[in-house]
Symmetry: C2
Amino acid sequence: MTSQEKLLGKTLKNKHIAVGLDPDLSKIPGFLHSEDNPILQFNKIIIDCTEKYAASYKLNFAFYEKYGIEGMETLFQTIEYIPEDMLVIADAKRGDIGNTSQMYAASVFDYFRADAVTLHAYMGEDSIAPFLNYHDKISYILALTSNKGSNDFEKLKMDDGSYLYQKVIKKTLEWNQFNNCGIVFGATNETELEENIGSFGSLNVLLPGIGAQGGNLERVVNAFKLVDKDNFLINVSRSLLYKDNSREFARASRNEIISLNEEIERILNP
Amino acid sequence: MTSQEKLLGKTLKNKHIAVGLDPDLSKIPGFLHSEDNPILQFNKIIIDCTEKYAASYKLNFAFYEKYGIEGMETLFQTIEYIPEDMLVIADAKRGDIGNTSQMYAASVFDYFRADAVTLHAYMGEDSIAPFLNYHDKISYILALTSNKGSNDFEKLKMDDGSYLYQKVIKKTLEWNQFNNCGIVFGATNETELEENIGSFGSLNVLLPGIGAQGGNLERVVNAFKLVDKDNFLINVSRSLLYKDNSREFARASRNEIISLNEEIERILNP
């Protein structure tokens, strides 16, 4: 099954939540701390209780790299535990010259066996091409992010009056020959989303920023509904993982994703 | 000793070569392949024979991540083997929202104990700040890179007539309050280097692109000489590591760095 098929297998059933497995030891329920590997155990329980409802799991590599080699083992074992039909996004934000990107691609796709990756496109086409050579994977390119710093460069105006993030979207469309490209578009930028969604073509869209960062779910989903576009994922991490930190945390997380799914369903089919 | 002190300890003695430890198993001399860990053994020999002449070692994380957990162990052990007074650059090209960059910073600075890191600034100030909070480390921000893809975004014109990479340099100067910032500037862009070097202020400069990529050493060193700037590093990887792949490879690599140092000395003090 290609990554695109995995994605559509979920989104066509109106599942759009990418659960961000960004485990923070300081926020994991206390009773798990006596486990051999509290983070792995936490991840497994979150997967167990959300896999019926999730469209994808997104693993932010930083949260594992922080713990060095042990963390990378946890990352590997977590990915191994995720059901086969589920899109696994390596949120690694890589990007380097060609021969180097080739190795990053080997790391995320061959070694960690992720289905998709997030990428910095600042260095241009040859820094992205080695990832795109994996035709059955998905490369999500950072266009407009959800943070305040998006004003520093992404939202700067170019000499033709467009914004830098619009240039990135345009290039990504050119790179999408094998229908294996996507963009990251921060859900906190609802207005920009509404204004630009017509230019996304068939690009997959990954939207962080709902939940802890304050993006508006209704406006985001409506934007996609209006252009009749299914291939979008909304990332939710902290607000789902740490809804509750008692022994009933798993139920709280499961209820959170169910309620998000219901909300999305209500917006799509009122 | 701060990273800045380590750097100046070398560059003030006219040592400017950052040896790129980017080991490629397919290019490592055959006789090392019977070793338990050929890459680690190769790195150790390269360090042994170049440490008297090098200003820094730059480890491109991709070359280790490619081999997964085993690769990360090799990365860790390689850094451990590098002499204490030598600037270790984690060429990891990271960059993410604040709470995530915080974890990447912990990974490269606390876990791997690197002295410096390379960063993507596309996501703006809050993606860089957690690295800059390590006042005694150096953060090299990608400005203008050495590859063809630098035309796609870095060299695009902004509405005020400047180029995107110039905007990045300007921002980096603002971020340099603790004198712990640097920029990556590809040595293949000699003309842009000559035109912009006056705007670099006290920023450290890391220049890849000499050697395999074709940058001109003489023009690059002369540009720094003209502005009387010492805190620059020229990265050399493939052309030094794989000068020879016989049993005498170490001598060839050592001779290569000695000859580069002599060339630089000749340009600086003709």
